[in-house]
Symmetry: C2
Subunit: 485 residues, 2 copies
């Protein structure tokens, strides 16, 4: 800026420092550069301009199934198309009867998808969510304690805005973690208290290690309020055992911590079984009410993941368990300021939790689509995992759940020094090189947190085919050779 130009009101040195502090690597520098490459590939090459060494950009940085080859579930989208244009109901030949019936019912509930709903989401849709939770867990659920949201992210932000009351409020965060948590804590200016997941034990939640962190945090004057658990894990893909969950709940009961259970990947489980925190908590409460009745739990779910994969629709919900009524009222007030979650997204939540039943017209197709997606994800996870197993200096836990693998990469001193020269962390350096050489966009482990001196990256296994995996493998071999020390 020239010295004679009048100053602007805002500059990087005077805007909200908490916003500046918030980091979100999933859409950071490497992701931005991949978008530039994507545009370069889309336009005809200018004469003399250097050609990129790849023909496609593979966005493996973000769990965005429909950006790749995943197709939406037909039943869901047929219903949504009627909600947008109810005159389609007159074309009786167009859709199966159960599609028309569901659309009619949803229209009766919401009126128009163009009208604001209740701030918390339409009541009858929340009742469907409650029924789904009851069937999943075998314990009752209450629609009044369910809030529909614009995706899980928005729900997490709401809860952290309520829970965090000052700089010294501490929230236990798994490391590695999905960076929404640390970013939001930076924004609300509270204290993230990291606890390390146990990589050799399939990234299990290590409760004794958490207790150590709690002791340290208390000694440092941090007032611990909450613990975040992501199950199945992001970025780790871990799936927690019932015992592991039970141990976390016991810890939370003893330490008076609100459990924030990020359960958006609850159907993305490829080995073992998903256990919800709600179910395990209710079981514990049945056995030892005195010890567990006071526990506060919030569980998040979303239409973005699972076999639904409807990220762009921004739909989700959270369920509150054991929260004080006055606190619930404040949560209600806070969400009412942004009026309501997208109503089409609310309807999609209803469809997700209440899909076609056996015997209905759409069941066979729904079932086939759902299972094909599930099997496809499972196979892709295994194919990618197998390749990592063959790669020099790479080790990777078995793919248990979610949409990601989070391999460890061993980098030579030469590579670490080359990274330092560029002012980058070694894993960032590796991922940037990967993008530049292959068009494959992944996220460095440092964006999620990792143990000092270890390096990882997160990749989705959503991309179809094996050609991109071969690109990744060839790059890795060349990289390792270049930086052999």
């Amino acid at each position: 800026m020239s010295t004679s130009a009048p100053r602007k009101a805002l500059n990087i040195n005077n805007i909200n420092p908490h916003a500046i502090k918030a980091q979100y690597a999933v859409r950071g520098e490497i992701a931005s550069k991949s978008e530039v490459y994507r545009h370069q590939l889309a336009v005809p090459p200018v004469n003399g301009a250097p050609k990129l060494p790849f023909n496609t950009v593979i966005s493996a940085n973000i769990g965005n199934p429909q950006q790749l080859d995943q197709k939406p579930i037909t039943f869901f989208r047929q219903v949504l198309s009627i909600l947008e244009y109810p005159a389609l109901l007159e074309q009786v030949q167009l859709f199966p009867a159960d599609v028309r019936e569901r659309a009619k019912w949803l229209l009766e509930q919401v009126g128009s998808v163009g009208a604001y709903s209740q701030s918390q989401g339409c009541l009858s849709l929340r009742k469907s969510v409650a029924r789904f939770i009851e069937e999943r867990d075998g314990h009752s659920a209450n629609a009044d304690q369910i809030f529909l949201t614009a995706g899980a992210s928005s729900g997490v932000s709401t809860l952290l805005h309520i829970i965090c009351s000052s700089k010294t409020t501490g929230v236990l965060i798994p490391i590695p973690q999905y960076p929404l948590y640390t970013a939001t804590l930076a924004l609300v200016d509270a204290t993230p208290v990291p606890y390390y997941l146990d990589e050799p034990l399939s990234w299990a939640t290590d409760v004794p290690a958490i207790r150590e962190e709690i002791t340290k945090a208390k000694a440092a004057g941090t007032e611990l309020r909450s613990i975040v658990v992501i199950n199945p894990g992001n970025p780790t893909g871990a799936t927690l055992t019932e015992q592991n969950i039970s141990d976390v709940i016991t810890l939370a009961a003893e330490e008076h911590l609100v459990i924030m259970a990020d359960e958006v990947y609850q159907t993305n489980v490829y080995q073992g079984k998903f256990h919800s925190f709600k179910k395990v908590l209710r079981n514990l409460q049945k056995e030892t009410p005195k010890k567990y009745d006071h526990v506060e739990l919030v569980s998040f779910h979303s239409v973005s993941k699972g076999m639904v994969g409807e990220c762009g629709h921004r739909g989700g919900y959270f369920e509150l368990v054991g929260f004080d009524e006055e606190v619930v009222a404040q949560i209600y007030k806070l969400v009412s300021i942004s009026l309501c979650p997208p109503v089409i997204g609310q309807c999609l939540v209803e469809l997700m939790v209440n899909p076609p039943k056996k015997g209905s017209d759409s069941y066979a197709l729904y079932d086939k689509e759902y299972n094909d997606i599930y099997q496809g994800l499972k196979q892709r996870s295994q194919a990618l995992h197998k390749t990592f197993g063959k790669m020099r200096g790479v080790s990777c836990q078995d793919p248990l759940g979610a949409m990601y693998l989070f391999p460890t990469i061993t980098l030579s001193r030469k590579a670490v020094e080359a990274a330092q020269k560029e002012g980058r962390k070694p894993d960032e350096f590796y991922c940037m090189r990967l993008l530049d050489a292959t068009g494959i966009c992944v996220v460095p482990g440092s964006g999620f947190g990792q143990k000092e001196g270890t390096w990882h990256f997160r990749t989705t296994f959503l991309a179809p085919g094996v050609e991109w995996i071969e690109r990744l493998e060839a790059f890795h071999e060349a990289f390792m050779t270049e930086f052999d020390s």
Copy 2:
């Protein structure tokens, strides 16, 4: 809570005090009670239960056109239905050619409405917005400076989170105001600096009065950063003149204030003409660049209002003008944490800014629907205004714009005392009585702010027919008689 029960982690005394401080009367106690009444009316009366003295609840508390009788624009919804279920394109007889073409084009741009878009919104849709702004203002616009949002509220929240850096950051807020502004400022813990709109002058923005507030605020140690202007006004319905806007811009230029121009009602203008801040700023910059080139402006728009009225779809945008590049990068990072605005809402923004053109298949119907809605709103505003003119102790500015009237009500000492006995503000007392007697839900002026000792309420004029207006009139007369002193 019994003393023996273990304490909960969260209670009303330890959660975020800034969240508790945030007030949002549009969906406050009276609105909640109206929902209870609505449910009571929907179920068969229990024997012996007292019958409500009305048969319908009229939600005049919120600008939610499609909750009442406003129908969506056919072209928009036909396109959206195809976006949800692209197989409808195969039914060539189903939709006009321009509907199918637009849907195809939008699908090419976004891929699937179930995929995350860029954090800032899909680029080609932002280009459509830029073209719309160019045509509206006669000045260039840049898609890179346009951010698609989940409604204007989400954009306002983003900007205030960037602008406000500490408790002493001051933001000038019109009084009366839409409470989103004070609620968000409470949440980010910054200082709202109220300036009063000039009621006798059709609620104009009184720049000399603002200068006085600035002087006072500076003396109190407040660092002023921004001024909010809502044009057309909410709750006032004011439409600012070009001169008025120019004066505000000059003030902002001199005082180094970011202008936050809430222009969501830009097509809801029933007298006079809408002038955008961007156009007036660019004109001023052309004449006196030195004086105006540094001005920072953000303008908000939405699909929720105007003749579109698609509140439930949560779509909108903001355009940044004159912002420092590093600040724009921080805004980008902040929005990327919540991934992207709803993609169907993004497409609806594109449809709003790029409706059917003369000569296209859908033009005649679009034009008719648009004008019918416009004329309907205008007539309803006049009918309601005329009734206010007849009511004892009520005075109301002419309906110029937006979706609201904000009459002054003169309340007797007896009424004020009766309110005090209930622990309510007099306007709250009046509005609660109105709801209990008639089922009509409006918002007390105290929810928006008003000059000390004056009382108002905000009502939309969206509800059809005159029966509800007669109910309101009869209630008012009875109330005045009851509290005659």
